[in-house]
């Protein structure tokens, strides 16, 4: 079972000598000739963006794809050279992309690279590296999702009500599969502000004829008593057994726990991340913005009184009147003041921006994490798996 999880296994893959390699070889050599002056002709970031454009490709896989392309384009002639190039590429990718999935993918690739090192001569090693990476992304990764859907569908009873949060391909696939098995399933999906990806889930499910209702994020507690189980996807699974997922998952889990509804998470094993967060802010997010929702420290003198005078009733602005930092300068507040239509004041873009994109669901709230590793794992066994995999 674990074989699927670590498809990047050491077994010397019968390198699928097909179309991709010869051109890749040529490409590599040509760029080697041309790119001597600029050491980094290859941009991982663009490769990643290209890969992620495909709706089916999740972040970790896109990251691996980008790194595989980096290896293809690499001009290094030794393993060490390749390794250092990869390290640079990986760092660039991690720094430019905020998604933790990227980090997970990079970690997986790094481990695979380290484990498969040695043995054959360099060109064939590189070839097998590339072919294995490609086959992992093209074949194994989609299989993971299939497998999870297959495992998770057993948890969905006939005539059950599911609450899901935001948009997760794996969750949708699971629900669709249950639907195909003629289970009557009804789904509540949260709107999941600010991305509003819940609407996308709603679209997909209703298009497939599954009754689906969108719930306000603030109405989760209200609707929880009608729900039989909570099913969520994830961006990454961290070493504590917790879940990094789109913001709001934590509160859904808390409400579910309080109402004693089972909370199941679906996660492909390539989303396992070697990181141990101690608090919500303790995530390796490298975006330029600092800690989400920090109170600003600087007080520009002119704006607060003006805004207070303009709309003393508006809750959002009055709660941030002391907020005047270089990050949130007067402009958003002014916009807010300008954007008042009727009596409703909406959050400005800047206000949204300082909000977190993801949160951490603590392991004690999760009943099971359903992965492609076989039987559903408890959060504890996730961390055991991770320790066993990475601590060698």
């Amino acid at each position: 079972m674990a074989g699927i999880a670590s498809p990047l296994s050491l077994s010397p893959v019968p390198s699928t000598r097909g179309n991709p390699r010869p051109p890749a070889q040529r490409h590599a050599s040509s760029s080697g000739g041309g790119g001597k002056t600029t050491p980094r002709v290859f941009d991982v970031g663009t490769a990643y963006k290209k890969a992620i454009e495909d709706d089916k490709v999740p972040h970790p896989i896109a990251a691996i794809l980008a790194l595989v392309e980096l290896v293809e384009a690499s001009t290094a002639s030794t393993v060490t050279g390749l390794a250092s190039e990869l390290t640079i590429g990986r760092q660039a990718l991690i720094n430019s992309q905020s998604s933790l999935g990227v980090r997970a993918g990079c970690q997986l690739w790094e481990r695979f690279f380290a484990l498969s090192m040695g043995g054959e001569d360099f060109p064939s090693y590189k070839r097998s590296l590339i072919s294995q990476g490609r086959s992992f992304c093209a074949i194994t990764a989609p299989q993971c999702r299939e497998k999870i859907a297959e495992l998770a569908v057993g948890f969905l009873r006939d005539d059950c009500v599911i609450l899901t949060h935001s948009y997760s391909r794996t969750v949708i696939q699971t629900i669709l599969r249950a639907h195909k098995q003629h289970k009557r399933i009804r789904v509540y999906v949260t709107e999941a502000r600010p991305g509003c990806l819940g609407m996308r889930t709603h679209q997909v499910l209703t298009a497939n004829g599954i009754p689906c209702t969108v719930v306000l994020d603030s109405a989760v507690a209200y609707v929880m008593e009608r729900v039989d189980m909570v099913l969520v996807g994830s961006e990454a699974v961290v070493e504590s057994g917790g879940l990094v997922s789109s913001v709001g998952t934590y509160q859904v889990a808390l409400v579910a726990k309080a109402m004693q509804k089972p909370f199941y998470a679906l996660a492909e094993s390539y989303k396992f991340l070697r990181h141990y967060p101690l608090s919500q802010t303790d995530l390796p997010i490298t975006t330029k913005s600092k800690i989400p929702l920090e109170f600003p420290t600087l007080i520009p003198n002119s704006h607060p009184p003006a805004i207070g005078a303009h709309n003393p009733l508006s809750r959002p602005t009055s709660s941030t009147p002391q907020s005047r930092s270089p990050i949130v300068p007067g402009t958003p507040n002014v916009e807010a003041a300008g954007g008042v239509k009727e009596n409703r004041v909406e959050m400005t873009k800047e206000m949204e921006l300082i909000n977190p994109m993801v949160d951490i669901t603590t392991p004690d709230l999760i009943d099971f994490i359903i992965t492609d590793l076989g039987a559903p794992l408890s959060p504890t066994s996730v961390s055991q798996y991770l320790v066993a995999q990475f601590s060698s």
């Binding site: 070493e239 504590s240 101690l278 961390s383 055991q384 320790v387 990475f390 060698s392």
Partner: protein, 494 residues
């Protein structure tokens, strides 16, 4: 000093018992190679040596089996020096007991000091100490002044080891890391000085040579899980020498010396470095970090975090709250180290912790051991800190090197623990005597002391895994529930 000469007299003295291996061997040698010993193949030599060692061992094993490895010397010593030694030995016992009597009177630490302060199961000849009267904790070993004179006289114990034992038992050398490093470094010197007797094989003789020293150290202060792991590792390393064969004695010794050096470096020094690297990530600008008592790892983490933070941004910083408790007051030294490095520290005693914790962001703990269920075995009071931290939802991080991971499961701090010294426990800091002092209370001879007073000092306690958020080891942060996985891996590697 005596050990190299040991096997010879012992085999000689026990000729009646084990005549075969000793006698035929020279005969064999003569017969097999008339051309001289040099011409003999290395294999033959090895075989003979092994046989001789087995014989020697069989003899010295007998007394060892009786459970008093230290006294096993008596056997050979008597064989060598006859009755005079015997009488001297007996005399030494007497003086011992007298000395013990007087010291216990003063120290209040309890029972007479046995010839080797190793076997606590032996009921002491003198009165039971107050601690031992307390049945609930009577099974625990307690610290007492080691009897260096007798230990030296046995000649079985390297002076370095004796010194180490005294340092450990006096509390000068404290902390699992320091003790383990001290012990392994001392054993390295012992092995350096060790000379394998002619008829013995190093890998078989060395453990026998070392065992009285290990026992002596254990008597001075139980070595704990970390030290036990290190000793077990050392023994397995010595055993491996036997499997490899084909190496000269000097090579084998060099190998061991180097291996010990590597062990100290990899399992403790580098591990601490990596732990510091991991743990300092969790300390952010403006945080308040709570620590308890003193831990070398935590000290390192805080100092490095401070240095890095200052290097990145001179304005940045964090606060440290050092929590301490009587009677050891280890936090004071810790405080010294931190504040001299420029950290802003607060020093409080354990009772105040609950009012401080709401402002804390992180609790960093060291530990003596981490048991396989994830329970942290650490200075008594740690469990209290962790409990309060859990109550206030402050993350608790235990910094423990993997060599301190124990395979046992310990359910509470009663079954396994150590009794600390109780002097000082009743000395109130105000200097006033409340009539509780030992002078009146523990004169067992008069019996007029306070029999109803039991000063009790347990050195360790057990923090259940549910109170620990994460364990920081050299392989990264792991939840306490993953300790068995690490243990399993470690045993696979070895």
């Amino acid at each position: 000093m005596p050990s190299p000469t040991d096997p010879e007299p012992s085999t000689a003295s026990s000729d009646t018992k084990q005549p075969k291996p000793a006698k035929p061997q020279p005969a064999n040698g003569e017969k097999a190679n008339v051309g001289g010993e040099k011409g003999k193949s290395a294999k033959d030599l090895k075989k003979e040596k092994r046989a001789a060692a087995v014989a020697a061992r069989a003899v010295s094993d007998n007394p060892a089996d009786s459970g008093r490895p230290s006294l096993s010397t008596q056997n050979s010593a008597d064989g060598r020096q006859g009755g005079s030694n015997q009488s001297q030995h007996g005399h030494s016992h007497n003086t011992n007991n007298n000395a013990a009597g007087s010291t216990t009177g003063g120290g209040g630490a309890g029972p007479s000091i046995p010839k080797r302060p190793v076997h606590f199961s032996e009921p002491s000849a003198l009165s039971l100490s107050t601690i031992q009267q307390n049945l609930f904790f009577s099974h625990l070993p307690h610290q007492e002044t080691p009897d260096t004179a007798t230990a030296l006289r046995t000649g079985k114990i390297h002076p370095l080891i004796i010194r180490l034992g005294v340092l450990m038992s006096s509390g000068t050398l404290r902390g699992a890391n320091a003790r383990t490093m001290g012990m392994m470094a001392a054993f390295r010197e012992v092995i350096r000085d060790y000379e394998c007797p002619d008829q013995a094989v190093l890998w078989k003789d060395l453990p026998i040579y070392l065992s009285p020293m290990i026992a002596w150290l254990e008597g001075c202060r139980p070595k704990g899980v970390g030290g036990g792991n290190a000793i077990r590792w050392l023994k397995s390393e010595i055993n491996r020498l036997g499997e490899q064969g084909d190496r000269s004695e000097a090579e084998q010794r060099d190998y061991l010396l180097e291996a010990i050096g590597l062990y100290l470096r990899d399992r403790i020094e580098f591990a601490d470095k990596v732990i510091a690297d991991h743990a300092k990530e969790k300390i952010k600008n403006g945080d308040t970090v709570v620590t308890y008592a003193r831990s070398s790892v935590v000290e390192r983490v805080l100092l490095e975090a401070w240095r890095d933070m200052k290097a990145a941004d001179p304005e940045a910083g964090f606060k440290v709250i050092v929590v301490d408790s009587r009677p050891l007051l280890e936090g004071r030294q810790f405080l010294e180290a931190l504040s001299s490095a420029g950290l802003s520290c607060t020093y409080i005693f354990l009772p105040l912790l609950s009012s401080i914790l709401p402002q804390a962001d992180l609790v960093l703990l060291g530990g003596s051991a981490l048991h396989s269920d994830g329970a942290l075995y650490s200075r008594s009071g740690t469990a209290l800190v962790a409990m309060l931290a859990k109550e206030h939802r402050v993350p608790v991080v235990a910094c423990v090197e993997t060599y301190k991971f124990g395979e046992k499961v310990v359910l509470d701090g009663v079954a396994t623990n150590e009794l600390g010294r109780t002097e000082g426990l009743l000395d109130l800091p105000c200097g006033k005597n409340f009539g509780l002092n030992k002078k009146e209370s523990d004169n067992p001879k008069t019996g007029g002391g306070r029999n109803n007073l039991t000063p009790l000092h347990l050195v360790y306690d057990v923090t259940p895994p549910s109170l620990i958020t994460a364990v920081c080891t050299e392989i990264g942060f792991i939840p306490p529930s993953s300790v068995p996985t690490v243990l399993g891996k470690a045993s696979n590697v070895v």
